[in-house]
Amino acid sequence: MSLDAPAPAAVIEAVNISKSFGPVPVLFSVSMDIRPGEVHALIGENGAGKSTLMKILSGFHDPTSGQIRLDGKQIALPPNGASETLGIVLIHQELNLAEQMTVEENVFLGRELRSHGLLDRKAMRTIVQRHLDEIGLGISPTDRISELTIAQKQMVEIVKAVSRKARILIMDEPTAVLTEEETEVFFRQVEKLKQSGVGIVFVSHKLNEVKAIADRVTILRDGQWIDTRLSEDLTPDLMAQMMVGRELSDLYPPMHEADVDAEIVLEVENLVAPAVRNVSFTLRRGEILGFSGLIGSGRTAVFEAICGLAPVESGTMRLFGEEVRNLSVAGARDAGLAYLTKDRKEKGLLLDKKMQPNLTLFALPKFVKNFTLDRKAEEDALKRAIRRFDVRARDENIIVGKLSGGNQQKLLLAKIMECDPKIVIIDEPTRGIDVGTKQQIYHFIAALAAEGVSVVVISSEMPEIIGICHRVIVMREGRITGSLSGDHINENEIMRYAAGLKREELH
């Protein structure tokens, strides 16, 4: 999009939208417009009001004040997804597909084609097939959703939207769960949609992606509209600064030199487990050890096996110099070894419970006094954790599912740290959270290491691996292909090991 051409009229416009939930205001007079054939990125920290704005644009929430205009005319959007009939489709972060039904059935769900009162499967299949071919996706209309990868499911959502003649497609962090390759495929689809005149709103925390794909960027901070600019006038750094409202030069904490003579706290030799082939490594006291590699390279599998979450097939493991075998999760915890999952919604937190039972669940035996739970101690622990980890909740009794992603991540971290582990494995410490919270988590990890806790960071985000780790191990297809430390840790080297272009003989 160039500045010279007159901008086409907006399809949908939010004008001075404010929104409060009860007494809590979350949006203050925010305006945004989406034009046909543009990709409009919406960025901001967690809790900045992005989700609320998206839901207002798609009719899932009513604005407290302000107007929505569709094709220049003020309109009250119908609730609960009925705006789809107006061509406005919201694709939720947790995709909205019936897992046990086929691709075709999902695409036509609720508006099946009929002939003579019976389903016209053939016609539906042909149409879906045509859309799938356009996308160039290797799936069939008769595949079951449950058998598809997340990226494929997302494509199905897009096909569903396209087949509903969407004019505006609103996507909540579509790339958060995609690998780089999948993201590229996804971007090609976005490009095609754009050319066909669909306006796309897309939320992402990956600012490089925003820079690469968006035409315009709207930045929100604390519920306020900060700016809307052409993406070519922005850099990722500038975007981050505008989101946070301060300089982010100190995103990563200063690196303390690792003590190379510190005692070895964890020693793994020839570990074989599901998706793990012959892995050996050591971890020292106070060290931050990064595990890098592509998604599916076995990084998570290594530590699930070590922490008793998956069976160990062979290999030896020494914890603080003593050989251990067949640890249970509880056994690992009691030995001072804790694993923080990357999947905080499915495996990390009880979303329908309050913060307090979530916080103490992992370390619950610590709170047992005379066979009963010491509720005073639990309450004190929550107060401490809220302070220590800066968990921002509007109310201590809030259901955890209603916390923003960043606050959920802090709570999960607090939950794992409640058992005072000596070794903590943090899998994707900052997935789907905003820059400000990222910074807090990095500083927290550094502080832990300085106290003598050993931290393993598994991450797909190369900058964070490089920014906080003393040493980096790279995995590929269940094996360790390289180990880097000090000045040798750089994106290029990691990528070469991860992609299998280079490997070193270890041990």
């Binding site: 205001p25 604390d222 937190l349 669940l361 992992f362 035996p365 739970l373 509007r394 109310d395 400000g436």
Partner: protein, 342 residues
């Protein structure tokens, strides 16, 4: 959420209180209403004799329902409890009858019977639990299977008829159902004891918290160092134990067991749990509510017995209606008047 301050916190927490109370108080209000209706229809409803009778009748379902609260809270279901009670009663009677020759008709024989009942309850519960966890079969299917097995076993033991307890042993055993202590029948005391233990276990111990966590999300429980299989198995063992207690106080009532013993108890127990506010898919359990649920179910039957406004044969209809209404009232969006768009 960066803009929230401490002053917002207090405001929202205050305004939220009443909605929570409604859910907790609901079953109690329902029971109170039923009692008032019962009294209006027939003042004899609140006579001491009727009330103790009502409590005693509630005891069987109530005790079993306390166990069911654990199973359901942890995300399971046990359909076998009625059949299990019949099978335990049958075996108890056979054991006691056979022990008469060597041990006589006194207390030792009855104690032997009770011991056997407890062991059988634990064993049967463990089988349900192990098949669900180690066998990785859905609880509904496992207990549907064991329901059929236990039921046919008692029919087989009784050879299609009725197993009767030796007359003299019955005399020794009789007080367990019919005698009172401090004005309350013995079964009611057992009910109270089981209810208190159950409440403490679910609300005040790590085990109870683990049940809730597993019912809420099993994967999270696993990643939180909870031995999911063991906790789930234990819920079925507790259920079995509760069935054993209920059977121990039930056998002296009639002194016999047959294929029709304990029929539909599983549904009444589950109904009591659900009326009490426990969520059927797990993750939230209330022992207090379960007790009220059991009392509500028994009270309906009792009121119908007392009046001729509605035929006694419609007992099931009334219970069914109460279950449906109770769940309707508990729907979280109901109390707000309309489904919130949030």
């Amino acid at each position: 959420m960066t803009m929230m301050t401490a002053s917002d916190n207090t405001a929202t927490s205050k305004s939220r209180r009443p909605s929570v109370d409604f859910k907790t108080v609901g079953p109690a209000v329902a029971l109170l209403l039923l009692c008032i209706i019962g009294f209006l229809l027939n003042p004899a409803f609140i006579s001491e004799g009727n009330l103790t009778n009502l409590l005693t009748r509630s005891a069987f379902i109530g005790i079993i329902a306390v166990g069911a609260t654990f199973v359901i809270t942890a995300g399971g279901i046990d359909l076998s409890v009625g059949s299990m009670a019949a099978a335990i009663a049958g075996v108890m009677i056979i054991v006691m009858d056979n022990a008469v020759e060597t041990m006589g008709t006194g207390v030792p024989t009855v104690l032997l019977g009770c011991g056997v009942a407890v062991l059988l309850g634990i064993g049967a519960g463990w089988i349900n639990g192990a098949l669900t966890t180690k066998g990785k079969i859905e609880a509904f299917i496992v207990t549907l299977g064991t329901m059929g097995i236990y039921r046919s076993l008692v029919t087989y033991f009784a050879d299609g008829g009725t197993l009767s307890l030796n007359f003299d042993v019955r005399g020794t055993y009789r007080p367990v159902y019919y005698d009172t202590f401090l004005g309350l029948p013995f079964p009611v005391w057992v009910f109270i004891a089981v209810a208190i233990c159950g409440w403490l276990l679910l609300n005040r111990t790590a085990f109870g918290r683990y049940c809730t966590a597993i019912g809420s999300n099993e994967a999270v429980a696993k990643y939180s160092a909870i031995n999911v299989d063991r906790v789930k198995t234990l819920t079925y063992v507790i259920q079995g134990l509760c069935v054993a207690f209920a059977t121990i106080i039930y056998v002296p009532r009639l002194g016999s067991a047959s294929a029709s013993t304990g029929v539909l108890w599983e549904l009444e127990a589950i109904a009591a749990v659900i009326i009490g506010g426990t969520v059927l898919k797990g993750g939230y359990g209330r022992i207090g509510g379960t007790i009220l649920g059991a009392l509500i179910l028994t009270t309906i039957g009792n009121i119908l017995n007392f009046t001729d406004v509605i035929s006694n044969y419609l007992n099931g209809t009334m219970q069914g209606l109460i279950i449906i209404v109770a769940v309707l009232l508990q729907r979280s969006d109901w109390k707000l008047g309309r489904k919130p768009k949030a």
